[in-house]
Symmetry: C2
Subunit: 123 residues, 2 copies
């Protein structure tokens, strides 16, 4: 089997990082199934998340490991992690300690695209 086929059928975690050493991470609220944020993880961030049970990411702008809520206190407790077919994307089902977005919004996705304009998400 190719590496690709193995990743799809495997029962072993074998994350596929891109040429920058990153993969995609989507945070979903365990209670509401709303998407709260989208970020990137490197191997260190994934490892820290798996070990601590709290979401860690990689900041591309700051080039550093980043624990969500480290300064704000709004950590994301990880309830379940799902991985996609080719193991280059993860969904983290989380219980958030507070607003996930740095703007204070519950979710980073607070606007709907309508043509070229943005409208508040209906709640």
């Amino acid at each position: 089997m190719s590496d690709s086929d193995q990743r799809e059928t495997s029962r072993t975690l074998d994350p596929k990082y891109d040429d920058r050493g990153l993969l995609s991470a989507v945070v979903v609220d365990s209670a509401t199934k709303d998407v709260l944020m989208v970020a990137f993880m490197n191997a260190e961030a994934l490892q820290a998340t798996l070990e601590s049970g709290e979401a860690h990411f990689y900041s591309r702008s700051r080039d550093t490991l980043w624990k969500k809520g480290e300064t704000s206190g709004n950590i994301l407790k990880v309830d379940e992690i799902q991985v996609d077919c080719d193991q280059d994307a993860f969904v983290l089902y989380c219980s958030p300690a507070g607003p996930t977005c740095h703007t204070g919004a519950r979710s980073c996705f607070y606007r709907v695209v309508e043509g070229r304009t943005l409208q508040p998400v209906k709640t």
Copy 2:
């Protein structure tokens, strides 16, 4: 205001592409709120999605625009698009015409991470 602040508060679509010209796209099933797949879009893919109402992505491996379901018929009809605070990630709420994953699974996320092993998602 900085570009960053403007993107957060703006009512105008102003996608923020990374240095490869890409942004993240998460596909969520409108009916179940399950995450179906995670991919990337370039400006062309986002434009094609907005114009056609069907999900288009950018394939990093093939370096080309890619309409989901073009060969399989399993297109993703876009019901709503949400954008995040800094406009570098989109959530597409879609009605899928068939299985989204190329493996035939309904979702690309068919395995749960448990330690270093993967288990089938409970349905």
